[in-house]
C-alpha cells in the first residue's frame, strides 16, 4: 500500500483539554435557511409567530436538503435576506428569545422499525456532516450500492479544532452507540473508527470500549494533514481507492463524522433535533480559547466576547479550520450547523506573491498526487486540455500546496478557478 503525501502541521490543539462549556441562551438568534449542502429551506413560520425549542421552522420539498429546527423558544421578529459564508443568498429567521426554553410538543423519540424509517428519522433530525462539509446525512445513508464498511471520521486533522475530540472524550458512549445503531439499521458488517495519532487518549478509550466487539476496528491514522479528507481516510483505513467520478459508496464505504454519528444516537434516544453544536473558539486574538456548546444562530460576536477576544484587534475571522475554513466578512454572522470552529486572528498574511521557482514542494505535498505548479501554468494560459490531463477537477482544496509554497502563490485558489474552466459533462 502506497503512502499518500501529507504535511506535518503545527497541531495547535490548545483546547484539547477544555471541557465543553455551555453558552447561555442569547437574547437573539439568527437562523439561516441554508446551512447544509443542497436546497435551501423555506421558512415554516411567519413574523410574530411564537416558536418553541425543537420546533421545525424550515423545510424543503427537495430530497437533497435537511430541515431546520429552532434551538430557542421565543418570537420570530424578522425574516430577512442573508448571505452565507459561501456567498449564497437565502432567507434567515431572527428570533427574540424569551429565556424560558419551552420544549416543543413534537419532541419525542422517532419510531424506527426498518431501514426506511431510520433514514426518514435521520432526515427529520436535520443532521448533516458536522465535520464542516455539511452533506445531508440521510442521503449518505441511502446509497444505491451495497455497503460493507462504515468509516467513522475522528481524524480532526485541521489545526486548532478539538470539537470532535471533545465529543469522543465526553460522549464516547454516544459515539459507540451511534456506530452500533447505524451498523444495525443499515445492515453494515464492519465499522472502523479512524483517529489521528495525535489523540492518544481517544484511541486508548475506544480501543478499550471496542475490545469485545470484533466488528468495530479502531484505526490510528498518521498525524499528517489531510487525514480527514474522505478519499484519504478511506484509503488509509481500508486500502480502497475512490476513483475519479465515484462516490465512497461505489467502493462499499460510507464515511460519517464522529460527532454526526454520536448525534444520531442521541436523536434516536431523545428526539431532540440538531439545534445546537459544539465549536472550538481559538486563534491568536482569543485570550481564553474554549470549546463551547451553543444553539445554532448564536452570533460569532457574542462567542468571541465570551472567550475574551479583543474585538478591536481583529484582522481575520475564520469559520472552520485554518486550512479549509472560510474567512468571514463580519462577526455578526451566526453559528450554523457546520460551524466546527471559530478562529480569530489579529494578523493576516500580506506577503506578496512572487515567481514560481519550480521547487516542487506543492507536488510533494498533494495527497492526491496532483501537480499544482503545472496547473498554475496551464491556468495562466487557459489551456483547458492540459488542465484536464492534470486532473485538476480532483482537487479537494485541502490547501496544502498554498501552505508550503515559498513564493506564496495561491495554488489551491488557482485550482478552484481552473476547475471552473472545465466544462461539466
Amino acid at each position: 500500500m502506497n503512502k499518500l503525501n501529507g504535511i506535518r502541521l503545527k497541531h495547535r490543539k490548545n483546547t484539547e483539554n477544555s471541557h465543553t462549556e455551555v453558552f447561555p441562551i442569547p437574547k437573539k438568534v439568527k437562523i439561516p435557511m441554508s446551512m447544509t449542502m443542497g436546497a435551501p429551506c423555506t421558512p415554516l413560520v411567519k413574523i410574530g409567530d411564537e416558536v418553541k425549542v425543537g420546533q421545525k421552522i424550515g423545510d424543503s420539498e427537495a430530497a437533497f436538503s435537511a430541515p431546520i429546527h429552532s434551538g430557542v423558544s421565543g418570537k420570530v421578529t424578522a425574516i430577512s435576506d442573508y448571505r452565507t459564508a459561501m456567498g449564497a443568498v437565502c432567507k434567515a429567521l431572527e428570533i427574540e428569545t424569551d429565556g424560558l426554553q419551552t420544549l416543543s410538543e413534537d419532541i419525542r423519540p422517532p419510531e424506527i422499525s426498518d431501514k426506511e424509517s431510520f433514514i426518514k428519522a435521520v432526515r427529520e433530525s436535520g443532521v448533516c456532516g458536522l465535520g464542516g462539509a455539511g452533506f445531508p446525512t440521510h442521503i449518505k445513508l441511502n446509497p444505491k450500492t451495497p455497503i460493507d464498511t462504515l468509516i467513522i471520521n475522528g481524524a480532526e486533522c485541521e489545526p486548532y479544532i478539538t470539537a470532535d475530540y471533545r465529543e469522543m472524550i465526553e460522549n464516547s458512549d454516544d459515539v459507540i452507540g451511534g456506530i452500533k445503531l447505524v451498523k444495525t439499521q443499515l445492515g453494515i458488517k464492519n465499522a472502523k473508527l479512524a483517529i489521528e495519532a495525535n489523540k492518544p487518549e481517544a484511541i486508548k478509550k475506544f480501543t478499550e470500549m471496542a475490545d469485545n466487539d470484533d466488528t468495530i476496528d479502531i484505526i490510528t491514522l498518521p498525524s499528517s494533514y489531510p487525514q480527514g479528507a474522505e478519499k484519504v481516510i478511506i484509503y488509509n483505513s481500508t486500502g480502497r481507492i475512490v476513483k475519479e467520478g465515484e462516490l465512497p459508496s461505489d467502493e462499499g464505504v460510507i464515511v460519517l463524522n464522529v460527532s454526526t454519528v454520536a448525534f444520531i444516537y442521541r436523536y434516536v434516544k431523545t428526539g431532540m433535533p440538531l439545534v445546537s453544536r459544539r465549536l472550538t473558539i481559538d486563534g491568536n486574538a482569543v485570550k481564553e480559547p474554549k470549546n463551547v456548546s451553543t444553539v445554532i444562530g448564536t452570533s460569532f460576536r457574542e462567542l468571541l466576547e465570551f472567550c475574551k477576544t479583543d474585538l478591536d484587534s481583529l484582522k481575520k475571522v475564520v469559520a472552520g479550520g485554518p486550512m479549509m475554513g472560510m474567512s468571514v466578512p463580519d462577526i455578526d454572522m451566526p453559528v450554523v450547523k457546520t460551524s466546527n470552529a471559530l478562529l480569530a486572528f489579529d494578523s493576516y498574511d500580506n506577503r506578496s506573491t512572487s515567481a514560481c521557482i519550480r521547487c516542487g514542494r506543492c507536488v510533494r505535498v498533494c495527497p492526491l498526487g496532483l501537480m499544482p505548479a503545472d496547473i498554475d501554468k496551464a491556468y495562466k494560459i487557459k489551456n483547458i486540455e492540459e488542465l484536464k490531463t492534470l486532473k485538476v477537477t480532483l482537487c479537494m482544496n485541502c490547501g496544502s500546496c498554498t501552505y508550503v509554497c515559498p513564493a506564496n502563490r495561491k495554488l489551491a485558489e488557482t485550482n478552484q478557478l481552473a476547475k471552473a474552466l472545465i466544462p461539466r459533462k
Partner: protein, 314 residues
C-alpha cells in the same frame, strides 16, 4: 473595529520563503568556498565577491530596464554569483568573470523571464560561454597551497589521467581538494557536506545527485576506469549537488530527477571517455537542462484514483 480581511483558504502557511531557500543554498556552498580559499588564496574571495556583486547589479538593472519588480531580495542572484565563481579558475581576470555574470543573469535568466523561467542553468551556461570564448584563461590552473597566480599552468586530475601521467593525485587529495581545478569544485568532501545539509533541510532531493554519481561510477567501472577517481575529480560533486538539483532547470518529480541524473552521468562518461573536450559535467547538465521539458512530460505524477484520460487529439 477594523475591516476584516476575507481571502480564500488556507489561512496559514509554513513561512518558508524563496529567500530562505536561497540563503540555505549559500550556507551550503560556504564550506567548499572556505576550502578553496585555503588552497588557492585570497583571490577566491575577491573573484567570488566580483561575481556576486555583478550578478546582483545585472539583476537589479535588468529588472529596472524591463520595468519589472525588484528581485534582489530573493537572493537568487547571489546564489548564481557564488556558483558561477566556484566554476571558474582562481586566476581568471575579473572582467571575464563579469562577462560570465552578464551571460548568466541577463542572457540566460532575465531574458527568459527571470527566476524559475530560465531553461538552462545560468552558471553552467556562463561557464561554457567563458570556456569557449577564453579557453586558455579558463584552463589556467594553479598548484594548491602555492598561491602563485602568475605561475605556469598546472593540470587538473582528469587532464593528468588522460595524458597518462605517472603519478595521479591520491583519493585523499581529491577528497580534500588539494588538486588543480576551479576554485570551488576541487573539495569533494566540502561539497558533499553542503549537499547533505541541503538534503537534510529538505531543500534538495538526493535523487538526481545519486543517479548522476552512481551512473557515472558504474559506467566508468564497466569501461575499466577507476570509478572513485572519476567521481571525485573534475566538478562532479559541484555539478551533482548544486547544479543538477537546480529547481528551474531540472524535473520536478522524483522519477524525472532520477532520469535527469542518469542522463548527466551517461553524458559525462561519454564525453570523458570518448571526447576531447574537458567539460563533461557542464555539457551533460546543459544538455539535460534542454531535455528537461520532455522528461517532465513523461514523468508526471500518477494522480490518486484518476481514470485514464480519453485522448482526443486534433
Amino acid at each position: 473595529m477594523n475591516k476584516l480581511i476575507v481571502s480564500p483558504s488556507p489561512h496559514d502557511d509554513n513561512y518558508v520563503k524563496t529567500s530562505k531557500i536561497m540563503l540555505n543554498v549559500i550556507i551550503a556552498l560556504i564550506p567548499a568556498l572556505c576550502v578553496g580559499c585555503y588552497f588557492f588564496g585570497w583571490r577566491v574571495i575577491s573573484l567570488t565577491s566580483v561575481c556576486v556583486a555583478s550578478c546582483m547589479i545585472f539583476e537589479y538593472l535588468c529588472r529596472r530596464i524591463m520595468k519589472r519588480s525588484n528581485t534582489i531580495t530573493d537572493l537568487s542572484a547571489v546564489v548564481t554569483g557564488v556558483i558561477l565563481a566556484m566554476n571558474l579558475p582562481v586566476t581568471l581576470p575579473y572582467w571575464m568573470a563579469v562577462i560570465g555574470c552578464f551571460v548568466a543573469i541577463v542572457v540566460v535568466k532575465q531574458l527568459f523571464g527571470g527566476l524559475g523561467q530560465n531553461f538552462a542553468n545560468p552558471a553552467i551556461t556562463a561557464r561554457i560561454v567563458l570556456m569557449v570564448s577564453f579557453p586558455s584563461a579558463m584552463t589556467h590552473w594553479i598548484k594548491p597551497l602555492e598561491y602563485q597566480y602568475d605561475a605556469v599552468s598546472s593540470a587538473t586530475p582528469l587532464a593528468l589521467e588522460s595524458s597518462g601521467a605517472d603519478s595521479l593525485p591520491s583519493y585523499l587529495d581529491l577528497l580534500l581538494g588539494k588538486v588543480g581545478g576551479c576554485l570551488g569544485e576541487t573539495c569533494a568532501l566540502a561539497l558533499l557536506a553542503g549537499g547533505l545539509y541541503l538534503a537534510a533541510r529538505k531543500i534538495i532531493s538526493l535523487a538526481a545527485p545519486i543517479s548522476f554519481i552512481g551512473s557515472l561510477a558504474l559506467l566508468t567501472a564497466v569501461s575499466g576506469g577507476d570509478p572513485i577517481y572519476h567521481i571525485l575529480a573534475g566538478g562532479v560533486f559541484l555539478g551533482a549537488f548544486f547544479m543538477a538539483t537546480d529547481y528551474a532547470t531540472t524535473p520536478i518529480t522524483t522519477k524525472g530527477k532520477i532520469v535527469f541524473g542518469l542522463g548527466c552521468g551517461i553524458i559525462t562518461f561519454v564525453i570523458r571517455r570518448f571526447g576531447s573536450y574537458p567539460e563533461g559535467v557542464s555539457f551533460s547538465i546543459l544538455i539535460m537542462n534542454v531535455l528537461t521539458p520532455y522528461i517532465e512530460q513523461l514523468t508526471r505524477t500518477k494522480v490518486f484514483g484518476a481514470k485514464e484520460a480519453v485522448k482526443n487529439e486534433g
